[in-house]
């Protein structure tokens, strides 16, 4: 595994044979799928499909474990929001009482629908972060012809995030060397003392901005005026070519999305009325 600014990516993976644009396109389009699907079983199927893609891409599944607390906390919030904080609705069907609070079937059903919509959206994001190196994202941005300055700012931002993390460690060690020890102190104390990291971090970044600028100016970079109109060689793009299989993947994603829209709005599929999972859950809880 290699560490990137946004996560961990496998050292070698068949996904690297896919053009970075296809991965970005997958993130942008497939993230939309759950919004058009109400039936939880279909969204669960999409989740399984994305997890299978991760396995095929040799993503270390232990990475997914990092996101389990996120998924659990989101699930809990959704469930509490819909049931305990859901208010009183005499028109709804009560399935049981929790300490005198009625829990309604309609609320539990809606919570499940929403939760199963969110899970594939999170998985799509995790899949993208676990298969895209920083350079891949830059290549994807250059492929869709984003202006050079936008790509450059993005690349610099990722680089500077790495430097900020290094600076953070340096500042922390310097403060520990001066006797600062927050071990065993309450959270409020740690939060207040966090400012001791923020001021040096900002100060170091301001100094770095001048160093960065001098280096860029010395290399002839300009983002405004005459010099900015010079056509640049897209060196990074020379390492990536958009092959036939990339075109096929892009077409498949597009067709899948169109098919989904037709099925949803033309044929009325993926609705709650057709969901066997919801019918089964209703039978279990009623």
């Amino acid at each position: 595994m290699n560490k990137t600014m946004l996560g961990y990516v496998p050292k070698e993976s068949p996904i690297y044979a896919v053009h970075p644009f296809v991965k970005l396109y997958f993130l942008l389009i497939v993230s939309l799928f759950p919004m058009f699907v109400a039936a939880p079983e279909w969204n669960f199927l999409l989740l399984v499909f994305i997890l299978a893609l991760m396995v095929i891409s040799r993503v270390d599944i232990r990475i997914v474990r990092i996101y389990i607390p996120v998924a659990i906390s989101m699930g809990s919030i959704i469930l509490i929001s819909y049931t305990i904080l859901g208010g009183r609705h005499p028109e709804f069907q009560v399935i049981f009482n929790l300490f005198g609070l009625p829990i309604y079937w309609e609320r539990v059903r809606d919570a499940m629908v929403v939760y199963f919509r969110i899970l594939p959206m999170i998985a799509t994001m995790v899949f993208f972060l676990s298969t895209s190196r920083e350079r891949d994202i830059i290549v994807a941005m250059r492929t869709i012809r984003l202006p050079f300055v936008v790509t450059y700012v993005f690349a610099m931002a990722l680089r500077s995030a790495g430097m900020v993390l290094e600076d953070f460690q340096i500042v922390r060690q310097a403060e520990q060397a001066r006797g600062f020890d927050p071990t065993g102190k309450p959270l409020t104390y740690k939060i207040r003392k966090y400012i001791m990291y923020m001021i040096p971090l900002f100060a170091l970044s301001l100094r770095r901005s001048e160093e960065f600028t001098n280096a860029l100016v010395a290399r002839g970079y300009a983002f405004t005026g005459e010099a900015s109109h010079v056509k640049r060689a897209d060196y990074v793009l020379t390492h990536y070519t958009f092959k036939t299989h990339d075109a096929i993947f892009t077409t498949l994603i597009t067709l899948a999305f169109i098919a989904l829209l037709i099925a949803r709005y033309g044929l009325h599929y993926f609705s709650l009325d057709h969901s066997w999972f919801i019918q089964w859950l209703h039978a279990v809880l009623s």
Partner: protein, 212 residues
């Protein structure tokens, strides 16, 4: 015996800080692009701390440290800070597991949270070094109003729009977003401005108007 003394640097007034002086040339330069990237980088790291450590859910946090970068950065660096403040939550939310389109829908909230303090300081000619009670007051009001907009937009428009919350649970998220931003802002913004503004306003990166 004669002694040589270095002449003291003339202290800038709040009016002078925001006004382009006669003969002073200010233009957009590479440094502004660099500062935008660096602010995105700092915001990414600092914002992730809040997103991971104090999550309420869907990118809403009880204590969001990123607000300091969003608001202080925009006061110092104008629209470059606003751009950075609008973009970096995308990254800090992403690694905390917030879906792409929810992060995208937060853009107006993050934009206003970054823009309003920058506008208030420029419009009312407040001193970023916080020399008077008026400066503190303007910053506090700008923080409260901008966070209130974010706190209303995000749960009411975004999370309700995506069907993630019921009407009854919206107040928890409104107060979570508002409190998480304002408390973090009170802890960090005042000290950062007080400690560093004196230096920043004399650097070429400082933005007097909106772009330069």
């Amino acid at each position: 015996m004669s002694t040589t003394t270095t002449p003291a640097r003339k202290e800038l007034t709040a009016e002078q800080i925001w006004t382009v002086q006669p003969g002073e040339r200010r233009s957009v330069g590479v440094i502004h692009i660099v500062i935008t990237a660096l602010l995105i980088g700092i915001g990414f790291v600092v914002g992730s701390f809040g997103s991971i450590s104090f999550p309420l859910g869907f990118g809403v946090n009880f204590f969001w440290t990123g607000i300091a970068v969003q608001q202080v950065g925009s006061i110092w660096f104008g629209l470059w800070g606003v751009i950075a403040g609008t973009i970096f939550p995308f990254f800090s939310n992403a690694i905390a597991g917030t879906p792409f389109y929810i992060s995208a829908a937060y853009i107006p909230a993050n934009f206003v949270q970054a823009f309003l303090p920058a506008w208030a300081f420029r419009y009312f000619k407040a001193d970023p070094r916080l020399r008077s009670g008026r400066d503190y007051f303007i910053l506090l009001i700008a923080m409260i109003v901008s966070s209130a907009f974010g706190a209303l937009w995000s749960p009411l428009v975004v999370l309700r729009g995506f069907g993630l919350l019921t009407t009854e649970s919206v107040p928890l998220f409104v107060w979570g977003w508002f409190g998480g931003n304002v408390v973090a802002g009170i802890v960090f913004n005042f000290i950062l401005l007080k400690a560093l503004s004196g230096v920043v306003i004399r650097t070429p990166a400082f933005v007097k108007r909106w772009w330069a």
